[in-house]
């Protein structure tokens, strides 16, 4: 419940950033650099004198938008592979799962980094890289859920009366496995936030002036000794969001 509220709040803040922001997030004011939090600058200013509060608001848009994009890249092929492998079994299953395991053998952040080297830096490229890196795990979870659902009596009954595989998948299997898959989609989203922000932190986002939590954490690291507030606000926002998603996914998972 609390988790849903935090998450809703974060989404709202990201959507309403232009209304809530007090400054232009890209506007540098050299004479205002490294100001401590005050009434004019709620979370202080950074090395270039930009307003940290406004940058956190706009950063939420970019960071969460990136994560949503990456998750959609993960979900569709992941679901498709898992459904096909789990339902049809036999050699289709073993072949697909061998392939999935081979991709899974690459640690996800390393895979995403290697893909960024291929695609080049930039927001869409990072989303694609992070999304692909998450796909094999989603395929595995989907397959495991399908394998379990396939043994249900109503699935066997549908099979016995001659229903076609696409119909059985859509009408009986997908509704059965929806709760764990939604829960795991939450986990996927939190991975996407963390990995996406990691790549942004490492400086592969292209636009270095853009407000983004990962980029802000990298900026904050430079000046942490004298101006801890620069990293604190985006860091707290990032953790709070991921925390809420994990909590929500956990309670969805326990409910089934």
């Amino acid at each position: 419940m609390i988790a849903a509220m935090i998450l809703g709040g974060m989404a709202l803040i990201a959507l309403l950033a232009p209304l809530l922001a007090t400054h232009d997030p890209r506007q540098a004011e050299p004479q205002m650099q490294l100001q401590a939090p005050s009434r004019a600058h709620l979370f202080g200013t950074d090395l270039l004198g930009r307003d940290v509060y406004s940058r956190v608001l706009y950063g939420g848009r970019r960071t969460l938008g990136l994560a949503l994009l990456a998750s959609s890249v993960t979900l569709l092929p992941g679901l498709a592979i898992g459904l096909v492998a789990g339902y049809f079994g036999r050699w289709i299953d073993s072949g697909l799962m061998m392939l999935v395991d081979a991709v899974l053998a690459f640690p996800s952040l390393l895979l995403a980094l290697a893909l960024v080297a291929l695609f080049g830096g930039g927001l869409e490229q990072i989303a694609l890289a992070v999304g692909i890196a998450g796909t094999p795990a989603y395929a595995r979870v989907t397959r495991a859920a399908v394998l379990e659902a396939r043994t249900r009596l109503y699935v066997e009954a549908a099979h016995a009366i001659g229903a076609r595989p696409p119909g059985i998948l859509a009408r009986h299997i997908v509704p059965t496995i929806a709760p764990p898959l939604i829960a795991f989609a939450g986990v996927t989203l939190s991975w996407a936030i963390l990995n996406g922000a990691a790549l942004m932190f490492l400086g592969y986002g292209g636009d270095i002036a853009a407000p983004d939590w990962g980029v802000m954490l990298a900026d904050g690291r430079e000046a942490f000794r004298t101006a801890p507030w620069i990293a604190f606000a985006p860091g707290a926002a990032l953790s709070l969001t991921v925390f809420a998603i994990n909590l929500l996914a956990g309670s969805l998972d326990r409910r089934r």
Binding site: F106, P107, L109, L118, L202, A218, R221, F224, R225, F243
Partner: protein
């Protein structure tokens, strides 16, 4: 037992081979080959480019290149860096020890903290302790290394002045990076441990133990013996996260290691180095996981029969 071990190791080898092949295929698809990335970019003449391409074997048929790649791997030859010309295997060997030390220490910390939190969250007698352990585990999961590292450096170096910050070598410089990396990794270990303990606490043998009036400590012993088994498998799975985490940790703490090598290679599009590193990670990861499964089946014979 032996058939199980052979089968598991065989699968691991097939998966590792597939991973190697994938790395090869994907990097063949890469826009522009090794020569485009270096010589052509710095403005070499057409003849120079053609000569270099022939020397690197890039004009050979793809099948032949693939065989040469596999043959090289078997001999431990991973090609040469496009930038420095140094053999990739040598570069990896040079940086292997610092990264291995960091990951192993982080893993030890992660297992200690993760299992402790997991047991508390799954089986502590008071609800408030369970909730606190659960909350700490979730917090660990949601605070990435690139954020906790900055906090930890600020707290332990700037405010308290207890530990040295970034740069430098020696054991004292290992404490913060390993702690930060271990803390994040502990989160998922705690999650799995807690849910496994909850599951085993609901089983029949636990009810029997309670029904025949065993003291709580002995019932807990029953639960832990079964509930802690999956931890073996999870720890091996964490290795992947850990290898990703070391990249960032090494960058933040300005440490020598494979992560630094990888980041430099990604920035320069030094494909042979990237390929060597991901291949090393993938092979290590699949073999360690196969080994963990074997260990798991030794301590829990049910796994073998279920397979």
């Amino acid at each position: 037992m032996i058939p199980f071990v052979l089968r598991r190791m065989g699968t691991a080898l097939v998966v590792a081979w597939l991973a190697l092949t994938l790395a090869f295929v994907v990097l063949r698809w890469a826009p522009g080959d090794a020569v485009d990335a270096t010589l052509a970019r710095s403005g070499g003449s057409a003849e120079e480019i053609a000569a270099r391409r022939a020397a690197l074997g890039l004009d050979d048929p793809v099948g032949q290149q693939y065989l040469a790649y596999l043959a090289g791997l078997v001999r431990g030859d991973l090609g040469e860096s496009l930038i420095s010309g140094q053999p990739v295997s040598e570069m990896l060997a040079d940086s292997f020890v610092p990264t291995a030390t960091l990951s192993l220490l982080a893993l030890v910390l992660a297992v200690a903290l993760g299992v402790l939190l997991g047991v508390l969250a799954g089986a502590a007698p008071y609800a408030i302790v369970r909730a606190a352990a659960d909350g700490t585990a979730s917090l660990a999961l949601s605070t990435p290394v690139y954020w906790t590292a900055t906090l930890a450096i600020y707290l332990f170096t700037v405010v308290l002045g207890l530990l040295p910050g970034v740069g430098g070598t020696g054991p004292r410089y290992l404490i913060l990076p390993a702690g930060v990396l271990g803390f994040h990794t502990a989160g998922s270990i705690a999650r799995v441990t807690a849910s496994s303990i909850r599951e085993s606490a609901g089983q029949d043998f636990v009810r029997t133990a309670q029904a025949k009036g065993l003291p709580d400590a002995q019932v807990l012993d029953h639960i832990l013996r079964v509930g802690l088994l999956p931890v073996v498998a999870v720890v091996a799975l964490q290795l992947g996260f850990l290898l990703g985490g070391t990249v960032i940790t090494e960058i933040i703490f300005v440490r020598r290691g494979l992560g630094r090598v990888l980041i430099l290679a990604v920035n320069n599009r030094d494909y042979p180095v990237i390929q060597g590193l991901v291949v090393l990670a993938a092979v290590t990861y699949s073999l360690v996981n196969a080994l963990a499964d074997v260990v798991y089946s030794l301590v829990d014979p049910r796994v073998r029969s279920a397979d």
